[in-house]
Amino acid sequence: MNVTNIFLDHLRQNDHVESVPQMIQTPSGMAIVEIQGEVVSKAHLQEGSRRVGSIEFEEKKATLVIDGKQRMRGSIKKLDKPLGLLKMDPENRHQVDLIEIVTHKVSFTDIPEPVGAEE
């Protein structure tokens, strides 16, 4: 029997929380972005950060543009049930940190459309 304790991380913080719309602001700055299919990129193969596109918010509406080539339209949606975000250290299996309780997601579930030449 494996027993893992879950601890809510009270010390979580993120100084850039206000960079995103209020509905997806969380104390830790973590949020969920749902995308139909998958974003094909090689970011996981390389170290460090790679810009793959942009997200534009206009109230509840959101537009995701990947590599300047594909556009997905979406919106901020309330989750049916809040999701706890668990963070595990593979070296320490007896403890899991609950780093956030997320209540909204940014959802892009429409079919991607090509970005026009004017953009």
Binding site: V20, I32, A43, R50
Partner: protein, 342 residues
Amino acid sequence: MKLNFYEEYDKRHIYRLIELPEQIIGELREEEEEYKKTKELQHYSLTLRGKDRLVLCNKNTTWNVKQRSQSNTLHLVETRDDGLASICITQPILECTLSESPQLDTSDLPCYDGDSIMGDPRIAKHDLDSLRNRSSMSGVQFDQVWAQIGGVEVDGVACVLADSLIKETIDDILTSLASQKQQLNLVSASDVVSDTSPAVVTAVLKMFATTPIEPYNLDLAHIISWIGKNALGEPVQIEQFMIMWKNSIPMIFDEDMVSLDLIKGSYALCETMIHKLSESDLPRDPKERFARLFQIKDKWELDEITPFIEPIKMNKSTKTENFVLKYAKKRKIGGKVMVCRE
């Protein structure tokens, strides 16, 4: 508001999303408020337990945890100065459903008969705290189940009581109470005169009490039912069994309380004989189970067969009457619904 979207995977950690039950969300929010006021960490007990089957437990409730796959990709993103960075693509969401009555597997537990602890020497023994920690249920539920099964810790070993010792202790309890003309609703372990240890007396009192702490409120119908089930053995005439059952209860009581309804699901009536029959001894496969039941007798009253059928119904909301039609015939004989071989 236009933001950059980055990918910067965190390869040092594993992230999972879990659908949290409302009760837990409420408790976490309270904990958070408390922390803001006092700045003291007072983590309340929340654990993920299990190996093959995962459960989520707080102090008093257990939820079964299952993975729910989804076709869309969920990116976990971190807010940055100029945008959002996807730090991982999460695995299937963990979904929690309330576990109504979590079970404790007692098959590996040693048995205590009053003199010695008997058990398979190849199976590791545990003390009570260790057993509680290893169980797939919350601490409060474990204590309830432990009391219901007559669990006791003897010399640092968590054991279940042998039926012979339970019966002996019930006799001591009822005899002591009768001699002191004491009611069954306010019983303390110190009221009981017994040769068995105080721990065993307390375990038996808890087993039949409707209250978890002293003074115990003993449930006489539960005691009579246990004595009846314990008296079942080799097939005997029903009348003979009823006399034997009544005579096993060492106190004056309303004899109308002794009824076969109290031990439903533990016997089969075959003409004038009563046979011991335990649901756990029957095959799990429904077809095989019906075949075994019809080996015992060709026709069962629906009421009598129901306890042997309920546990194998895949969909618990299906009426037993309808479920049996898959494997047997239903007839009305003399105003009673009978289940017969196909």
